[in-house]
């Protein structure tokens, strides 16, 4: 730990854990980290925080030169104050050039605290990173103004801290690096003023894993409407391995659909093979979540709906008649 080569630029990737394994989001982050590291002739480091994390740590070794294992009983569950303190101590020790984190709800809580402790700025929800050759500054591309404007921000004070949007890079498949595990033990104070009373797990939704998504919006008025979408989903299962239900904000705010299914600025960002938007007008705050979709089909009764401007196929009319006919035909052919 004390003989780290200080001259070597380090890109520190904060690892997302999943069922003891390395998840695909982490592999995307490691891929982006590798590109940035190559530009600065540096190395990729992983940071794994938690308790009982040796499997995850091992899983990162093929992709990173150094893997920092921060295994501590107090880090068993995500507690933002403790995670921020552990990462701050790691950053002081390792002095990374850049810290990359996934743009998850937990990290939206963690990253700003880390940045403030390190007295630097950060850019959240980036889709692309590049080193400015002349200056070595980090250029961070990010959709802004509800995805109407794409902005490239410059970070000039290290560590550059960014959170990255899911599905903006291909996950690494194979790694050939034989990384080194470095154990790091932070000094943690377990007392927090914020007391967890109860954790309520809602249905586990993995919209990012769906090959096809059928999403409903303001046009869907009730559970009967939702049923029609669900029937379309089951018809599509003939063609896609995984098909799931998504929603734009009006259905979340009216509690017809839980917020874990929200797609858009404040929800998931998805990039499926097929996205069918039903009764969604196409506000930019929704569209920012589906920009990566390969094909977009829009069904809406207003010919003026903005969704048609970003769709590959459009059907104008009432979904209540169109969707059942589509579903029936999909089953037949």
């Amino acid at each position: 730990m004390d003989n780290l080569n200080p001259k070597c630029g380090r890109i520190l990737v904060v690892v997302e854990k999943e069922d003891q394994g390395v998840n695909s989001f982490t592999l995307e982050l490691l891929g982006i980290g590798r590109k940035v590291a190559t530009d600065i002739n540096g190395i990729v480091c992983g940071a794994v925080l938690g308790h009982g994390i040796s499997e995850v740590t091992k899983g990162i070794l093929p992709f990173a030169e150094e893997v920092y294992s921060i295994d501590h009983p107090l880090l068993e569950d995500f507690k933002v104050e403790l995670y921020a303190s552990a990462l701050e101590q790691l950053c002081q020790k390792v002095v990374p050039d850049t810290v990359l984190m996934g743009c998850t709800l937990n990290n939206l809580d963690l990253a700003p605290r880390l940045a403030c402790k390190m007295k630097v700025s950060l850019i959240t929800d980036c889709v692309c990173l590049a080193i400015e050759p002349e200056t070595g500054c980090l250029l961070c591309t990010k959709p802004t103004y509800g995805a109407k404007v794409v902005s490239i921000f410059k970070l000039d004070k290290k560590p550059y801290i960014v959170t990255l949007r899911r599905k903006t890079a291909e996950p690494l498949r194979q790694g050939s690096i034989l990384g080194e595990v470095i154990h790091f033990t932070p000094v943690l104070n377990g007392t927090s003023q914020i007391e967890l009373i109860e954790k309520v797990r809602e249905e586990s939704v993995r919209l990012d894993k769906a090959e096809a998504i059928v999403a409903g919006g303001r046009g869907i008025k009730d559970t009967e409407g939702l049923e029609k979408l669900k029937e379309l989903i089951s018809a599509l299962k003939k063609y896609f391995k995984s098909v799931d239900l998504g929603a734009s904000r009006p259905l979340i705010d009216s509690h017809l659909v839980p917020s874990s299914r929200q797609i858009g600025l404040t929800g998931e960002k998805v990039a499926p093979e097929l996205y069918i938007a039903v009764g969604i007008s196409g506000s930019l705050q929704h569209l920012t979540g589906v920009l990566g979709a390969k094909k977009i089909i829009a069904i809406n009764n207003s010919p003026k709906a903005h969704i048609f401007k970003v769709a590959d196929y459009g059907v104008i009319g009432d979904y209540e008649d169109i969707v059942p006919a589509l579903e029936k035909k999909l089953k037949e052919i």
Binding site: F78, S121, I123, S151, T266, L291, I316, L326
Partner: protein
């Protein structure tokens, strides 16, 4: 018990639901130029104000709304008074022009420090212009008070704050003593309706205006947002409209087109 004092931080932004072509960029000045759309209170900050007003309704509280900017439109921000806020403080100074999130949080935290008492600070989860989502948490770090991110419900019980906060696989119910900062998400609900009459009478009310010199700022701490480049997003696809005599026929034809074009 002393009455609760709640501070709500709000930002003035161009209407995020404005039409797409209302947003232009000036690549030389590296600025976004909204054309023909009015400014309003950032919708997520309205969620935060609604959270504050619900607490005021249930337990009684003084709600102080605070906003910062180079130039602020009073009639826009006075909507907060019309909705039920007790005071409006505007931090206006030319030196606040284009400052970054860190500096914004710094200015707001200096102004909040000047207040004799605060129990709760509420902010929206992010602003609908730059969509960073960091200012609230920065303010908490600077004031060295605990923070709870992404609340969908905020209540007061036995002198503590109880919050339902969003997390990656559901939500958590947490409790904290005050003072505490909470960022509020849209799930909490929209700001209550404000009538024309209440807007008119709010318009006549006085607001407190502070300049940079009034709030003990170290001007070296003010840094501007570093924008390298800006461009309009363009993902226009060629939309192929499916025609048909009836809606049923359109639905069937869509299925066939999906098959022919190799989507399924």
């Amino acid at each position: 018990m002393n009455s609760l004092q709640i501070i709500v931080c709000v930002k003035q932004v161009p209407d995020p639901e404005g039409p797409v072509d209302a947003f232009q960029v000036d690549p030389n000045k590296k600025k976004v130029i909204p054309i023909g759309i009015p400014p309003l209170i950032n919708p997520f900050d309205e969620n935060a104000l609604e959270a504050a007003l619900r607490i005021k309704d249930c337990y009684g509280a003084k709600v102080i709304v605070i906003s910062m900017g180079e130039k602020l439109a009073q009639p826009v921000l006075k909507k907060a008074l019309a909705a039920g806020a007790d005071d409006l403080i505007l931090l206006m100074d030319p030196c606040f022009k284009d400052i970054d999130s860190w500096s914004t949080a710094y200015v707001l935290s200096r102004a909040i420090k000047k207040m004799e008492k605060y129990d709760l600070i509420l902010t929206g989860r992010q602003a609908s212009d730059w969509d960073f989502g960091v200012t609230g948490l920065f303010i908490a770090e600077m004031l060295q008070i605990p923070a709870i991110n992404l609340a969908r419900k905020v209540e007061i019980k036995d002198g503590n704050v109880w919050v339902e906060k969003l997390c990656d696989d559901g939500y958590e119910i947490v409790k904290a003593p005050m003072p505490v900062l909470i960022t509020v998400s849209n799930e909490l609900g929209e700001l209550r309706y404000t009538s024309v009459r209440s807007l008119q009478s709010a318009n006549k009310r006085l607001v407190t205006i502070y300049r940079a010199n009034d709030i003990d700022l170290d001007f070296q701490n003010l840094t501007t947002r570093k924008i390298h480049n800006l461009f309009l997003f363009n993902d226009k696809r060629q939309c192929k409209f499916i025609e048909g005599e009836s809606l049923q026929e359109k639905g069937e034809k869509l299925a066939l087109a999906m098959k022919t074009d190799g989507i399924i």
